[in-house]
């Protein structure tokens, strides 16, 4: 039992990144992590580059690292990947005519919904007004009140 425990402890390894890269300092490592989190793995498409264990993701991480070493900016590195793999590699789709639908549809839908709601509320208010006006007009006449249903209009 003791030996088994010892063997298990010896086999245990500290958790490390998938492929440790020779970063020169902590800032560079953070920049690398941030950048690869914004990039999508092409193979397992719901994972980011930082996370993916796919072979191609490993190559692309190496590529990103190499470009960082040669002094390329984040934008340049992203452009490098977009020119090969399309905007799809970016988790944050850029705003351009092709993505207007994606960016603006939710806002437009909210506005349309608000418009419809406002319209309904306005009409309901109006029919209630006419209803009370009619009740006031037919004051005292039996059997006339309660005839007007405010819901009738919708």
């Amino acid at each position: 039992m003791k030996w088994l425990l010892l063997a298990m402890l010896l086999m245990a390894q500290p958790a490390t990144a998938i492929d440790p890269l020779p970063f020169k300092d902590r800032a560079e490592e953070v920049r690398f992590q941030n950048l690869t989190k914004q990039l999508r793995c092409l193979v397992c498409q719901n994972q980011d580059l930082a996370d993916s264990d796919a072979d191609l993701a490993k190559d692309l991480r190496q590529q990103v690292f190499k470009m960082m070493q040669s002094g390329k900016s984040d934008a340049e590195i992203k452009q490098f990947l977009v020119s090969r793999y399309n905007d799809f590699v970016l988790y944050d789709p850029p705003l351009k005519p092709g993505t207007w639908l994606l960016w603006f549809t939710p806002g437009v839908l909210v506005l349309v919904g608000a418009g419809v709601l406002a319209n309904i509320l306005r009409r309901r208010g109006q029919s209630r007004l006419t209803a009370s006006a009619q009740i006031a007009a037919s004051d005292g006449e039996p059997g006339d009140s309660g005839n007007i249903d405010p819901r009738e209009d919708w």
């Binding site: 193979v43 190559d59 977009v82 090969r84 399309n86 799809f88």
Partner: protein, 183 residues
């Protein structure tokens, strides 16, 4: 009329659902359209698989259209695709260049010996950098490049007889007729 409005909304939603189903069955959801189609093929110079001392580059291939097939001996779908290339490769009428992607040359040679070699020339991209420049993310992938070195068509995934007949051959015909095909 107003009472029917919810019904029309319902019909519209059904239509949307039907369109979604149709779209999903006619499109590969994982497919990332290449931004390289219509652009000049990226620069590359790679050693030949069978004569590593010699190399082949983008410029060497100008003048005649060619089909660049990205494969690897490690890739099971390439193995499925392989018989179709063996059978139909010659009938395409253009050069078939193999790009052995992220593969060990020895493994690739064994693989080709076992299944046959449909390629005129094979270039070896062992570290996969040329593949990245071509925007390859999963073998097999196939690029049709015209005589001016412009990528005219890209197939992600297997070239089936159906795809060869309905997509690849019309594209090749369009290139030799000197016009741009509309897929």
């Amino acid at each position: 009329m107003k009472r029917l409005l919810p019904f029309f909304v319902f019909v519209a939603l059904c239509g949307l659902l039907g369109f979604g189903i149709w779209w999903n069955t006619h499109h590969e959801m994982n497919e990332v359209p290449s931004p390289l189609v219509g652009k000049t093929a990226p620069e590359f110079t790679l050693p030949l698989l069978y004569e590593p001392a010699k190399s082949l580059g983008r410029k060497d291939l100008l003048g005649q259209p060619y089909l660049l097939n990205v494969f690897g001996s490690w890739c099971p779908t390439c193995q499925d695709e392989h018989p179709f290339l063996m059978r139909e490769g010659k009938s395409l009428g253009i050069r078939l260049i193999g790009l052995d992607w992220k593969d060990q040359p020895e493994a690739a040679k064994r693989w080709l010996q076992q299944f046959g070699n449909p390629y005129q020339t094979i270039i070896a991209d062992e570290d996969g950098h040329a593949g990245i420049d071509f925007g390859v993310y999963g073998a097999p992938e196939t690029f049709l490049v015209d005589a001016q070195g412009v990528i005219r068509y890209k197939r992600i995934g297997m070239l089936t007889p159906d795809v060869i007949a309905s997509e690849l051959k019309p594209q090749i015909a369009a290139i030799s007729a000197g016009r741009v095909a509309t897929p």
